[in-house]
């Protein structure tokens, strides 16, 4: 019910609506809840509404954190 999907803004129609690309599909969504949406940004879409924008820097940091996990770091700590 509360699953939103990330989609990229491809066109701003007016202050309340924009076109987003979901893979190869384009869809019009309501962007009233977003402050100053811009073409190229990724937003979270749920039931035809953009809930929030996705922060690309934070996404990158999260991925880097996954990739930096050092399995040896905690070995022996629980002994």
């Amino acid at each position: 019910m509360c699953l939103a999907i990330p989609a990229q803004i491809v066109e701003i129609i007016d202050e309340n609506s924009a076109k987003v690309a979901l893979g190869s599909v384009t869809k019009e969504v309501t962007v009233t809840l977003i402050e100053e949406p811009q073409v190229g940004e990724y937003i979270l879409i749920h039931a035809g509404f953009a809930l929030n924008r996705i922060d690309p820097e934070e996404a990158q940091k999260t991925l880097e954190l996954f990739d930096s996990i050092d399995l040896t770091e905690h070995l022996g700590k629980l002994a």
Binding site: I5, F49, N52, F66
Partner: protein, 378 residues
């Protein structure tokens, strides 16, 4: 797809699983509740429940608005749909959920009622504009994720002076439900449900932010990690809870930093506050009456409140006697403890809502219990 596939990466997934095995102390048990039905679904779909170490158990919470809607509220929608003046618009999630007996909105549609499935509440608004001679009622359900769109629809209806649009408001609030679970006798006294921490819902939190969870950390000394819905997100969230538990600390952490901020979407919160106020109580399926846990439409927008427009009374719910959804929603029982699970109650012939909703624990067990969907390859 960007922001999806990299969070379903097999190597990252396996590495995190290894890390969890390394860090989960074999001398203790871990019981974490995933509040949100979206998490429940993902935990089964990606085979996470089966792959976690035996002593790391996920307890499924009540965060599925479809599952916690009492049958009386569905009966209200069905009764409205049977009114020949009315076009009843609903999200698809609610169409097959049984009310009292075996009635549902889908059955009502089969009997001739004008029930229409909408993707967005704005579609219901458009239907009202296209059918000025009919009464269009939107069956509004959901937690904080779906509430701002409903608020926007009500405000738009007011601006456009639509006289034939109203909302049957059943919006729910996440924090009171979590508090209710923590204060339930099963958790507090009986010890039948042990909860060492919560995975916080990510998309609800895009709206409400991380701040509301601070209360649980301070009051109940339980860690909360706001966590995304992709498999790699989930494993990282679980790992963060394990680390907090190992260190004996209780903090609100945000795993889903790419979409959730401390304060959430303030614009959406202001819209909600403008259109809705708290109900003093709301009856949840399986959890009973929870004070200040749901929203109703403010008097300034009374003309768009279907409860007032159609003089609806407080509904009475009669749940199926054999159905164990209530106990399952509280985390007290598992689907396999229900006598009718997989027999009289299946996704094709659902008796209880947890089998209807793809986010219900029963549906997740039925579809993915013994099998799993592979995580995407790089």
């Amino acid at each position: 797809m960007k922001y999806v596939s990299e969070f379903r990466d097999k190597d990252r997934f396996n590495k995190l699983l290894q890390q969890i095995e390394q860090e989960a102390d074999p001398s203790r048990d871990y019981h974490f509740m995933e509040f949100c039905g979206g998490h429940t679904h993902a935990i089964f779909r990606y085979g996470i429940a089966q792959r976690l170490p035996k002593h790391v158990e996920m307890v499924h919470g009540p965060g599925c608005p479809v599952c916690v809607m009492p049958s009386g509220r569905i009966d209200q929608a069905i009764a409205l749909a049977h009114d020949p003046r009315v076009i009843l618009c609903s999200y698809g999630d609610m169409l097959r959920v049984p009310g009292s007996g075996r009635n549902s909105l889908l059955k009502a549609k089969g009997e001739g009622a004008d029930v229409r499935m909408v993707y967005s509440v704005m579609d219901a608004l458009a239907i009202a504009e296209q059918n000025p001679e009919r009464e269009v009622v939107f069956f509004a359900i959901g937690f904080e994720t779906t509430t701002p769109p409903t608020a926007l629809a009500i405000k738009t209806a007011q601006q456009r002076e639509l006289k034939n649009f109203s909302v049957l408001c059943n919006h729910l609030l996440t924090p009171p439900a979590i508090r209710h679970i923590l204060e339930s006798p099963e958790v507090r006294e009986l010890g039948t449900v042990s909860i060492d921490g919560f995975l916080g819902p990510s998309h609800v939190s895009t709206i409400i932010g991380c701040q509301p969870y601070q209360y649980f950390v301070e009051e109940y000394q339980k860690p909360v990690v706001v966590t995304g819905f992709e498999p790699v997100d989930l494993l990282q969230g679980i790992l963060m809870l394990i680390r907090q538990h190992n260190q004996g600390i209780f903090e609100v952490e945000n795993q889903y930093r790419r979409g959730v901020t401390e304060l959430g979407n303030v614009k959406a919160q202001m819209l909600m506050a403008e259109c809705f106020e708290m109900r003093t109580r709301f009856n949840w399926r399986g959890l009973g009456d929870i004070p200040y846990s749901a929203l109703r439409i403010r008097s300034e927008f009374a003309e768009f409140d279907a409860e007032l427009r159609f003089s609806l009374e407080e509904p009475v719910s009669r749940e199926h006697k054999a159905c164990q959804c209530g106990a399952i929603l509280r985390g007290v029982k598992k689907p396999k403890d229900c006598k009718i699970f997989g027999k009289a109650c299946t996704p094709e012939t659902p008796v209880g809502p947890c089998m209807v909703s793809s986010e219900g624990a029963c549906s997740a067990y039925y579809h993915f219990g013994p099998i799993e969907v592979q995580v995407v390859e790089k």
